[in-house]
Amino acid sequence: MAFWFFRGLGKGIVTTRYPKAIDPWTSALPTPPAFHSDRLTIALVDRLIEVCPSRALAREHNELIFDVGACSACERCVQEGAGAVEHSGVFELASTRREHLLKRVHIGRGSA
């Protein structure tokens, strides 16, 4: 049984230092999208809503409603969005209120 002990020592510390530091490998994680609101059009947004399989996108007049909570980070909208939609890179998404996960993004140029 001794081999377990010495092997373990040889391996060193593998534990993350989170929350003190963020591990570099996390850049490979899938994350919800972020939108270039100035590149969005109503037609594009309606197409994004159609490709989203998880009902995370909706539109009210010229606002895109993005439900971060419903998002499965499948990236279908990133693929369809062709430059108007990117990975946000955010994975620390925990929220104490459901409303904090509902984002409104103005479609097109102009103030939100």
């Binding site: 929350p19 939108f35 270039h36 909570g69 998002c71 620390e92 925990a94 209120r97 939100a112």
Partner: protein
């Protein structure tokens, strides 16, 4: 502070007072099993939730926090509510994953579609699945040791600078 916010703050302070250790009971309400896999890894060396004072417990009576996955399949209602009622106050309910937050499965005859249609939820953890680090973030937010970040984010790259 509103009554709601005050209650939430009190709950968080109470959990923080438990301070040294927080016991977690998990409930699967119909997940695809991948959220479970990430939860299992919380006790593995790369994440080691024990160093943060978190422990899994098989008994709801010893639990301070319920970690719930899945879209709240209706067939789990009885078991879920029994577990919630058997967990003494103060307790926190953490809903984990897109399914538990209302994504993926729409409400229908099989599922409620979101855990907060059955129980009051204190912390929502998005992801499909949320990685163990995202889960740690969620747990630390639940006990008030980390601030929530997502509220201030706009997810609009043309607006203010984020992060």
């Amino acid at each position: 502070m509103t009554d709601d916010a005050l209650a939430a703050e009190l709950r968080r302070r109470a959990l923080a007072l438990f301070g040294r250790s927080l016991h977690i009971r998990t409930v699967d309400t119909g997940s695809c099993a991948v959220c479970e896999s990430e939860i299992r890894l919380l006790s593995a060396p790369p994440y080691d939730l024990h160093r943060l004072g978190f422990f899994f417990t098989p008994a709801p009576r010893h639990a301070d926090l319920l970690l719930i996955t899945g879209p709240a399949v209706r067939a789990m209602d009885t078991a879920l509510l029994k577990t919630f009622e058997a967990t003494p106050d103060p307790k926190a309910v953490v809903a984990v994953g897109a399914c538990a937050l209302g994504g993926v499965y729409e409400e229908d005859g099989f599922v409620h579609g979101a855990v907060d249609r059955v129980l009051p939820v204190d912390v929502y953890v998005p992801g499909c699945p949320p990685s163990p680090l995202a889960l740690l973030h969620g747990l630390l937010v639940a006990v008030g040791r980390l601030e929530e970040r997502v509220a201030a984010l706009t997810f609009d790259l043309a607006a203010e600078v984020e992060r």
